[in-house]
């Protein structure tokens, strides 16, 4: 018995070591990881330098790990074992609430009133300067703050995962108080969503972004704010002016990806196009691309389909010189809004300053002098002076 067991152990171990890498070499390799939302590693180039520096071996390790046969199954098994067997509340930094919402695990907040006040004073100073710059050539600056799923669904966290909201709440309070004092036009979508049926109706349960309904309400609110200051209102795409579509395939949200879409709740992804379309050209980072505002993914639906994801600079030209121009900047919350916004303008420029580094925002505005400049920022980023929070 002992002999047989030992022989079996050796055979199984050898098989476990040899079969996975052998199959990984023989079977076709995927280029992209759907769940991780990234391209998989490519085989590194062997040079004397890469060999001696250790980067070649590190690259081989990355390649082997990324392309190991059964990798996705193992990643899924990890989620299942942790969630269903070990009963861990947080797996891959995601918590699933009793209501079925997936929420990111938050960092425990150590509120520092002085630090927040100082940081918000800096941010407000920058936004005020931006407002002055836009006003200097006759343009109009609008700050639109959207809420964020983690903050809106804060009550759905269990007590021990509630790290406090003082930093975020006070940053928001100081920012909007400052806007009022400095006469800067601002919109707080948290209040708008609350007045239109509450946050639940507008936020995804599987993704940290709002749903298309949330994006649409944000778009309408921005347009209504613009039109308040205009003698001749710009066209606004209301519900009846749109043809709605449901993206094909299961929806993979930023959080549901992390747990391999094993959550209880499933969602669909909506998008819309004008019932009366207008022709336009689209340029991404200086290159002309297909004139589309929604790019379906093969076999699944993703927030990244809106405007084809985060792009440093996008320009949509509708060729209607009689209409004003607009610049919108911000993180990925701007993407579904951009897909509607272009309709009302001659030219829409969209910047994601995390990926655009040809010019600073100030330089960009001075160069193009758009009639309207819209900052679309989410609540979690109000106090962050990085990416779309740096203007010059």
């Amino acid at each position: 018995m002992k002999k047989i067991c030992n022989l079996l152990a050796v055979v199984l171990f050898a098989a476990a070591l040899i079969i996975p890498p052998a199959l990984s070499v023989l079977l076709p390799r995927e280029q992209v990881s759907l769940y991780e939302n990234r391209t998989l590693a490519t085989f590194p180039q062997l040079t004397a330098r890469s060999l001696m520096s250790g980067t070649f071996v590190a690259g081989v390790e990355d390649y082997l790990t990324d392309h190991l046969v059964g990798r996705n199954q193992m990643l899924e098994a990890y989620v299942r074992l942790n969630r269903d067997v070990l009963g861990k509340p947080v797996v891959n930094d995601v918590y699933e609430s009793d209501a079925g919402t997936l929420l990111a695990k938050l960092n425990y907040d150590h509120y520092d009133a002085e630090a927040v006040a100082w940081r918000m004073e800096q941010q407000l100073g920058e936004l005020t300067a931006l407002d002055e710059l836009v006003s200097s050539y006759g343009g109009k600056f609008i700050f639109c703050g959207v809420s964020e799923q983690r903050r809106d669904r804060y009550d759905q966290y269990p007590d021990y995962l509630q790290p406090g909201t003082d930093t975020i709440d006070n940053a928001e309070r100081l920012l909007f108080e400052g806007f009022r004092e400095n006469g800067i036009t601002s919109i707080n979508m948290y209040e708008v969503f609350s007045a239109h049926g509450g946050q639940d109706a507008y936020y995804s349960k599987l993704d940290h972004h709002y749903t298309f309904a949330g994006a649409r309400l944000t778009y309408e609110t921005i347009m209504d704010t613009i039109n308040l200051g205009r003698d001749e209102p710009l066209a606004v795409l209301r519900e009846n002016d749109l043809v709605f579509h449901e993206a094909e395939g299961a929806f993979y949200g930023s959080y549901s990806r992390k747990i391999f879409n094993l959550q209880r709740v499933q969602e669909t992804l909506l998008w819309a196009e004008p019932a009366e379309p207008i022709p336009f050209t689209r340029t991404d980072n200086g290159k002309e691309v297909e004139p589309a505002v929604f790019t379906p993914k093969e076999g699944y639906a993703s927030y990244g389909s809106y405007m084809n994801g985060d792009i440093g600079e996008t320009v949509i030209d509708t060729g209607r010189d009689d209409l004003p121009s607009v610049l919108i900047f911000g993180d990925s919350f701007t993407n579904p809004v951009e897909g509607l916004l272009y309709y009302s303008f001659d030219e829409m420029r969209a910047l994601d300053l995390r990926y655009y580094d040809d010019m600073t925002l100030f330089e960009y505005i001075e160069e193009y002098q758009p009639d309207y400049v819209i900052a679309l920022r989410d609540r979690m980023q109000y106090n962050q002076a990085v990416g779309n929070g740096v203007y010059r």
Binding site: M1, K2, K3, C5, N6, L7, L8, A9, V10, L12, F13, A14, A16, L17, I18, P21, S24, Y35, E36, N37, R38, T39, L51, S53, G54, V57, V60, E61, L64, T65, D66, L68, R71, M74, L75, A77, Y78, L81, L86, K88, P89, V90, N92, Y108, H110, D159, Y160, L161, Q162, P163, H208, S254, R257, K258, Y303, G304, G309, D310, D331, Y355
Partner: protein, 463 residues
Amino acid sequence: MVFSSPLFLFGFLPALLAVYFAVPARARAARNAVLLAFSLGFYACGEPKFVFVMLASIALNYACGLLAGRERTRRLGVVLASVCGIGLLVWFKYTGFLLSSANGLFGLHLPVPEITLPIGISFFTFQGLSYVLDVARGTVAPQKNPLHIALYVALFPQLIAGPIVRYETIAAEIVERRESVDEMAAGIRRFCIGLGKKMLLANAMAAVADEVFGLDTAFLTWDLAWVGAVAYTFQIYFDFSGYSDMAIGLGRMFGFHFLENFNYPYISRSVTEFWRRWHISLSSWFRDYVYIPLGGNRVGPARHIVNIMAVWLLTGIWHGANWTFLCWGLYFGVLLLLEKFFLGKWIARLPAPLATLYAFVLAVLGWVLFRADSLPLAGQYLAAMFTPAAGVQRQTVYLLVEYRWEFLACVIGSFPVAKLCAKWRDWHSGLYALENLWAAAVFACSVVWMISSTFNPFIYFRF
């Protein structure tokens, strides 16, 4: 390269096993050559240029071993090996620390060079030195075949993180050893358990410890501080003993028998006993090559105290070039002296659970010194552990809920449950199958956890 990496598991190890066992067992020299070549390759994977440092160390110890084997040149061999070997270690490991400490202490402005530490240098330096010292003492004969010395120093299972293997332990096995299915199976099981200790327990405890030790000490409360300190206590044990298990298991796969490096240190009933059970190969190295040559306990009380403190100062600084390690060594030196001269009798009378708790708490406090980035931070951390505060932090509750199974497994795994199971196994041969199943399950979970550590999602869509 580390054992708990996909490249080792699915690249290096199967390749080595295939080539090694393709060579007939009677061609021992060829099998040794394969093992040596792969061992050098193993080291080169992580530190290509430092292979030359290791080769220099091997050449030095080989030559010094020959010198130490002759009556007339014995002293020269020992002095050369000690000065050059330790000089190499001091240069790579302690230059920065010594210069920055001199700058800090004496207000100097000496330039501090950035020197990359060759991985495993502390281990292979001590192994090489022990060989020369053993030759000089006549415990082992000098080895004339340089490839044997090279294989002894560079043998990949113990190369990077020990255990520190004495030449006499494997000298005979380098020349003549017997690989068999039984040995291979035993090695595989040991390797799987070691991998599980590292991937399933140590890494989970590391997540807890990193979160707590990463906090600003101003926000550290007693509950969080204790959770972090205990987590680190388990992390370092399961990480290091897991690595030793893997090394011992890998050695057995190729017919080598390394000595045990850990013996359930957290069940010790005194600090003295703890150090008989913790990192045994290092403790015995310092005992045999520093403490005893200094006179050990066969000297007057004052000299005895100096001997003990010298050994513990060196033990501390061996672990890293930082004042925290030095103080950690001295902390244990003082505790051992206290037990030797005052507390020993009292501790012996304590009920076993209380004595174990005493030794465990002192080990936990020691690990805080070991883990902290600086002495002031260690002080602040220790102060937080003993500063009472009302209630329990939410973060503490989260860490305990999230990692409850790992904490429980660490507590159970700190007791000699495996030893007990091994006894049962001998009662009924059918239990061998269970042991295999257990090892297979641990291996499978470890691989899943290993791959999951490479899960690297991007929130934003940007390929």
